[in-house]
Amino acid sequence: MTADKNYYTMDTQGNLKCLKCGVPLVKGKAKFMYLDNGFPVELPVCPICGFVYVPEELALGKVLSVEKALEDK
C-alpha cells in the first residue's frame, strides 16, 4: 500500500464550517480504524481542531459495508 493511497475521497463543497473554530472545513487526511485495520481516507476536516466530518450517506453506506465485511474476517 502506498503512503498516498486513499480508500475514499470527499470534497467539502464549501458547505461546512467548524462551529468551534469558525473556519470552513477543508479536504484533509483521516483514517478509519476498525478491528485493527486502517483505511486512509480524505474527508472534510477542520484545519484547526481536526474535527473529521463523516456524512450520513458515508456512515450508512460504504462504512457500514466495510464494517460488515471485516466482522466476518
Partner: protein, 761 residues
C-alpha cells in the same frame, strides 16, 4: 462498561468438537437418507427425480435419470420385477405409485442420448465377453458404456439378436433401440456357435479383461465370488448361475463392470466399491395431510398415455424428511437442513484467515430447540449454533456488532435498572419475585401490580429482584459474562436468605432453575394455587396460546398456562405448532439483533398461525407479535387487568425499567430518588424516533452526544441547511446527531452511527 472489540489480526482456531462427534451428530439428520423406493432398488434408481421429471412433463429428462442405472433401459423397464414399487410409502394410506409403468412410458416417450459423448475417451484396455444370456447382455452394455473396446464371442452376430434371445419378454422396438445405442460404441461380434474351454483359452490372451456368461462359467468349471463377480483363480468376471430376475442380472452386470474397472486400473476389486445393492433406509416421511389415492390404470403394454403418466407421477409425494425445516424459519431462510448446516458451521470454526461465511447464520438461530421436538430423531441445531458462538468468542472470532446492543441492555438491566430489595419489615424473605428484564421493560405497571399482589397475599415475605437472568450473555456465547451474571445473582439471593424464586418469565425460570442455587417456581404456579386477584379477566373473544420457547419440554408449565387462561374465561383455539412445537417469536437467541430479516420472518410465522389474537406468557413474545400488528396480550396483563398497549421502542424499554425502579423505591420502600437531569431539553420528531429505532440508537445516546457537544463546543454547521452536526464516541460506537438549536432546546433531525473509529493522520 465497554466490551472489548475483537481484532482481525488474531489467527486462533479451535475445533468445535472432534470429527467423530461431528459424524455422530450428522448421522442424526436423516434428510439425505434414500427414499423407500430407491433403497429397495439394487441399482438405486433415483425414483424421486425420475417421477418428478415425468410430473413436469419432461420424459427425456426422466429417461436420462433411468439410463444412469442401466445401458438397456427398454429391456430393464419391461422386465424389472420392481422391488421399488412394493416399498412405496403411499401404500401406508392407499395405493403406491406404479413406478415400472412410468419407467416404461419414459423409455418409450423420452428421447435417448445416442451420442457416445464428445469427452468420453475410448479406453486402452480391451475386453472380451464369452457367452450369451441376460447377464452377458447387460455386461456387454455396461462395458460398452464405459468405452472399453469389447469383443463378444457368442452365437449371435449382432447386439439385436443377442438381446432378442436374452429378453424374450421385451418388444421389438425396445430391443432395437437398446441395441442401436450400444452399436454406437466400440463393439465387435465374433460368431462362435458353441463355446469350448479350448477356444476360450486360445482367445482370452488377446484381451486385458475377460468376462463370461454364467452358463459358460459352469463349462469352464469356475466359481464366482458374488461380492465382486470374479472367479479369482483365473481373473475371469462372471456371475452366479443365470438369475431369473431381470433386475438381479442388471445388478450383477453392474458389479461385474465395476470389478472390470478396478482390474483395469490394477486395483483390488474388493475395495472402494461404495454401497452396493438394496439398503435399509432410516428416512421418515410425514403422511399427515396427504389424502389416500388410487393408482391410475395403465394400458395392456404396461405403459401410460402421456397425460396419465403425468397424473400418476403427480401422485408421488417425493418422500423426504423436512420435519424440522417445516416449522423453522431459520432453516427455511438459509435453505439448509441440519446435517449440511452443521458441517458448514463446523468448517467455519476451522477457518484461520479469510471470510467466515457462516458467522451470520450461526448468529441467526433463535436457539429455541423446536428442531429437537419436530425432528423424528431429536436433532439439536440450537446446541450446534450455541457451541459455535462460544467457540467464536473464545477464539476471538465473534464480532461484537450483532450482540453489543443486547449485551449493553443486559448490563443496563443489571446496573442502572437493577433493584434488589427485601419486603419492607422482613429480614429474611421466603420468596423473591424475579419478573425478568423484558417484563419490566414492556409492562412495568403489570410488574408493579404483580409485586404488590404477591406481597399482599403470600406469607413469609416476598423480596423483589429487577434484573436480567443472564440469558442474553448465554445466547451471545459469552460464557464468562454469563457466569459473572449468575454469580452476581446468586450473591443477591444469598443476601435475601435463599428465597424461593418466583419467576415472571419462562426463560428466566428455565435459566435460573439450571444455574441458580435456589428453588425456582413460576408466578403462574402461585396464581394457579392461590387464585386471581380482583379484576382478573380473560378476553371476550377466542384466542390462541403462543407458547414460549422457555417452556419447551416443560409440559407442566404449558398446561398450567392453559389452565390459567381457561380459568380467566378465555376460549382457547388450537393452532398448528403449539405447545412443545411452538416456534420462536424472533427474540430468542438474540436473532432480532443479529438478523432482523430472519427475526421478522419468525414473528410473522408465529402471527400467521391463527387469525385470532394471541395470549402469551413471555413478554418478549407479546412484544414481537404486537410488532407484527397482531393483537397479543400477556397472561399477567389479563390477571392484573392491565394493558401494556403498543410496543415500546428501544428507548422506552429502558425508560420503563428506570421508571419502574424509581416508582417502586419511592412508593414501596419510601426512598428518595434523584432523577437524572441533563440541564437541556431535546425534542425528537416522530420521524426521528422511527429512524433511531431502526438504527438502534437510544435517546440517551443522543443526549450524551449533545452533552459532549455542550462541553467541547465541537460541531459542524451545514451552511446549506443551517443544521448543526456533532458526534461522540461511546464505547465502540460513534454517534452522530444532526440538530437545530434554540437556546437550551435541541430539535434532533437525524441520528446515525458507525462502529469504525475515525482519526486524523
Amino acid at each position: 462498561m465497554t466490551i472489548k472489540e475483537r481484532s482481525t489480526k488474531i489467527y486462533r482456531t479451535k475445533t468445535m468438537f472432534s470429527e467423530e462427534e461431528l459424524i455422530e451428530k450428522e448421522r442424526v439428520c436423516i434428510h439425505e437418507e434414500l427414499p423407500y423406493c430407491s433403497a429397495a432398488c439394487p441399482l438405486k434408481l433415483d425414483v424421486r427425480t425420475l417421477v418428478g421429471q415425468i410430473a413436469a412433463g419432461d420424459f427425456t429428462a426422466a429417461l436420462a435419470v433411468y439410463t444412469k442405472i442401466t445401458p438397456l433401459p427398454h429391456i430393464l423397464s419391461q422386465g424389472c420385477e420392481a422391488p421399488c414399487q412394493k416399498y412405496c410409502k403411499l401404500y401406508d394410506i392407499g395405493e403406491g405409485i406404479r413406478i415400472t409403468a412410468l419407467e416404461r412410458t419414459a423409455t418409450q416417450m423420452g428421447e435417448i442420448n445416442k451420442g457416445s459423448g464428445m469427452l468420453r475417451m475410448k479406453k486402452k484396455k480391451t475386453a472380451a465377453i464369452f457367452g450369451e444370456g441376460l447377464f452377458a447382455a447387460f455386461f456387454v452394455g455396461e462395458m460398452a458404456r464405459k468405452m472399453y473396446p469389447v469383443t463378444v464371442y457368442s452365437k449371435y452376430d449382432n447386439m439385436y439378436d443377442m438381446l432378442k434371445a436374452a429378453a424374450p419378454f421385451a418388444d421389438e422396438e425396445g430391443i432395437a433401440e437398446d441395441a442401436a445405442v450400444i452399436a454406437h460404441t466400440n463393439i465387435i461380434f465374433v460368431h462362435a456357435e458353441a463355446l469350448t474351454s479350448e477356444f476360450f483359452e486360445q482367445e482370452r490372451h488377446h484381451y486385458d479383461l475377460i468376462g463370461v456368461s454364467p452358463s459358460f462359467l459352469q463349462i469352464l468349471g469356475g466359481e464366482v465370488d458374488e461380492t465382486v463377480m470374479l472367479w479369482h483363480a483365473e481373473t475371469v468376471i462372471s456371475a452366479p448361475i443365470e438369475q431369473q430376475d431381470v433386475i438381479e442380472n442388471a445388478f450383477n452386470a453392474r458389479k461385474a463392470a465395476l470389478t472390470a474397472d478396478r482390474l483395469a486400473q490394477r486395483l483390488a476389486p474388493e475395495n472402494s466399491r461404495g454401497e452396493e445393492g438394496c439398503k435399509e433406509t432410516r428416512l421418515y416421511t410425514n403422511l399427515n395431510g396427504i389424502a389416500a389415492s388410487a393408482s391410475l390404470p395403465c394400458g395392456i403394454d404396461g405403459r401410460y398415455t402421456r397425460e396419465n403418466a403425468i397424473s400418476e407421477a403427480k401422485r408421488c409425494i417425493q418422500c423426504h424428511c423436512d420435519e424440522c425445516v417445516r416449522g423453522c424459519v431459520y432453516l427455511q431462510h438459509y435453505k439448509k437442513y441440519p446435517k449440511k448446516l452443521t458441517r458448514e458451521i463446523y468448517n467455519n470454526a476451522n477457518i484461520i484467515m479469510g471470510d467466515h461465511m457462516m458467522n451470520k447464520p450461526i448468529n441467526s438461530c433463535s436457539l429455541c430447540r423446536q428442531c429437537t421436538v419436530t425432528c423424528p430423531n431429536g436433532y439439536n441445531m440450537a446446541d450446534i449454533c450455541l457451541i459455535a458462538r462460544q467457540n467464536m468468542v473464545t477464539t476471538g472470532k465473534m464480532p461484537l456488532a450483532p450482540h453489543e446492543f443486547a449485551l449493553m441492555d443486559m448490563e443496563f438491566s443489571n446496573t442502572d435498572a437493577f433493584l434488589c430489595r427485601k419486603q419492607a419489615g422482613y429480614t429474611h424473605c421466603r420468596y423473591v419475585f424475579f419478573p425478568g428484564c423484558q417484563t419490566s421493560a414492556i409492562a412495568p405497571d403489570t410488574v408493579y401490580k404483580a409485586y404488590a399482589d404477591l406481597t399482599k397475599r403470600l406469607t413469609g415475605g416476598v423480596a423483589l429482584l429487577l434484573g436480567c437472568c443472564g440469558a442474553i450473555a448465554k445466547w451471545a456465547g459469552r460464557e464468562l459474562m454469563y457466569a459473572e451474571t449468575v454469580r452476581m445473582l446468586n450473591e443477591h439471593f444469598a443476601i435475601l436468605g435463599h428465597p424461593v424464586i418466583i419467576a415472571g418469565c419462562p426463560m428466566c425460570a428455565d435459566m435460573l432453575s439450571k444455574h441458580s442455587h435456589e428453588q425456582v417456581i413460576g408466578i403462574w404456579d402461585i396464581l394457579a394455587e392461590i387464585g386471581f386477584p380482583e379484576g382478573a379477566k380473560g378476553l371476550d373473544y377466542p384466542v390462541a396460546m403462543h407458547d414460549s420457547c422457555g417452556a419447551r419440554g416443560n409440559i407442566h408449565m404449558q398446561e398450567t398456562m392453559r389452565l390459567i387462561a381457561e380459568k380467566l374465561g378465555c376460549v382457547l383455539i388450537d393452532t398448528e405448532y403449539s405447545g412443545d412445537y411452538s416456534p420462536c417469536c424472533g427474540y430468542g437467541g438474540l436473532v432480532m439483533y443479529a438478523n432482523r430479516e430472519v427475526a421478522h420472518e419468525m414473528a410473522k410465522m408465529c402471527a400467521e398461525r391463527s387469525d385470532t389474537p394471541y395470549i402469551t406468557y413471555c413478554m418478549a413474545c407479546r412484544d414481537r407479535l404486537a410488532r407484527e400488528n397482531k393483537e397479543s396480550r400477556h397472561l399477567l396483563e389479563l390477571i392484573y387487568n392491565e394493558n401494556a398497549g403498543v410496543p415500546p421502542d428501544i428507548s422506552e424499554k429502558r425508560y420503563n425499567r428506570i421508571q419502574l425502579k424509581e416508582r417502586l423505591l419511592r412508593e414501596v420502600w419510601k426512598e428518595l430518588v434523584e432523577p437524572v437531569e441533563y440541564g437541556f431539553k431535546v425534542i425528537f420528531t416522530p420521524e426521528t424516533r422511527r429512524m433511531m429505532e431502526d438504527r438502534m440508537i437510544l435517546r440517551t445516546d443522543v443526549m450524551q452526544t449533545l452533552q459532549y457537544m455542550r462541553e467541547t463546543k465541537e460541531a459542524i454547521l451545514e451552511e446549506k441547511t443551517g443544521l448543526l452536526v456533532t458526534r461522540h464516541r461511546e464505547g465502540n460506537v460513534t454517534f452522530w446527531v444532526k440538530y437545530e438549536q434554540k437556546d437550551d432546546v435541541y430539535v434532533v433531525h437525524c441520528a446515525y452511527s458507525h462502529r469504525m473509529n475515525i482519526v486524523t493522520r
